[in-house]
């Protein structure tokens, strides 16, 4: 069975042929070419080269100058809008050291609503009790017990 399946690890004959034919192609560079390259390199070595750092500085200076010119042109055409002072922030105010004691302020802000709530609750409860007493006018009222003729200790016998 394994004879019928291609072995993936087996070298591809076409690729082997490609490699072999590539190795067979081996042109010699002309003798003058090497001399030309070496002389060009020597010329490049002798000619003054601007160093990359100097070029970088020149480029940076040019960019800065261009940016400054653009900024001046833009600002001249469009006047600067007036700057509004920022609104006071309550949180900043609470943390401001000029305020005597921020803790008492905070306690005040916290306690006040609680006191109001307690007062409101008491008012509501008293109102509810009066309402309940008014809903049941007679029946609910406790009737005074009539005094019995017989005293508890005596019997009819």
């Amino acid at each position: 069975m394994s004879n019928f399946l291609p072995n993936p690890k087996a070298p591809d004959p076409m690729i082997a042929q490609l490699r072999q034919q590539a190795q067979a192609f081996d042109p010699q560079p002309p003798a003058g070419l090497h001399r030309r390259i070496i002389s060009t390199l020597a010329q490049a070595d002798n000619s003054p080269r601007s160093s990359p750092s100097r070029l970088g500085w020149l480029f940076a200076a040019g960019t800065l100058a261009a940016a400054a010119i653009v900024a001046v042109l833009v600002l001249r055409d469009h006047p600067v809008a007036p700057i509004h002072p920022p609104k006071p922030n309550p949180a900043k105010f609470a943390l401001d050291p000029s305020v005597p004691n921020p803790l008492t302020l905070a306690m005040q802000y916290v306690d006040d609503p609680l006191q109001n709530e307690a007062e409101n609750l008491l008012k509501d409860l008293s109102r509810a009790s009066t309402t309940v007493t008014h809903v049941f006018p007679g029946g609910a009222k406790r009737q005074p017990r009539p005094a019995s003729q017989n005293s508890p200790g005596t019997t009819g016998v």
Partner: protein, 212 residues
Amino acid sequence: MTSDLASSSSLELLSDEQLVSRAKAGGRDAFNCLVLRHERRLYRFLCKNTANAADVEDAMQQAMLKAYLKLAQYNSRWRFTTWLFTIAVRELRSLRHRPGPATTALQHAREPAAPNVEPATDPNAPDDLWQIAQRVLNPQHYAALWLRYGEDLPARDIAKVLGRPRIWVSVTLHRACALLRQTTKQSASESGNSRSRGKSRPNQEQTAPGVT
């Protein structure tokens, strides 16, 4: 004189990376040694990918000069040959955009330029796979195929040289091999048919007079 010879022989023993670091430090002899070591390989690559012999020489000279001038930008993460091939491919592209009669470049290369040397294999032979590849493949695909099987570069380095993603290289190589295989099969079957026709034709000619 003897000291020069001794220094050149000692340079030959150094690796590419060591030579590059020496050349970066200002040693032009080290760079000359790199030129001597790689010029043949680069020339072979350019011959395979350029139509014109003059363009091969120009591209090679410019590539070596740029490699020397921009040696500070060389990243040792890559092999020196990979960097050199990358510069050479860019040079070929710029030669293509040069004003004047368009003669060359990776995109237009159809015939290899091997000016001084007779090819070892007959270009018209049906079994010359590189000739078939040059005929049927896109020039960039052909360059990828050459870098893989002619120069033994890994896919990562081919991607760097051609400025393409690595997956493109893998897919391109796979497709190029498939196309090449299909073309060679077709040409083999056609040649087989022509041979059988050639064999059968004399018989027909022999029988034809008898029939009439």
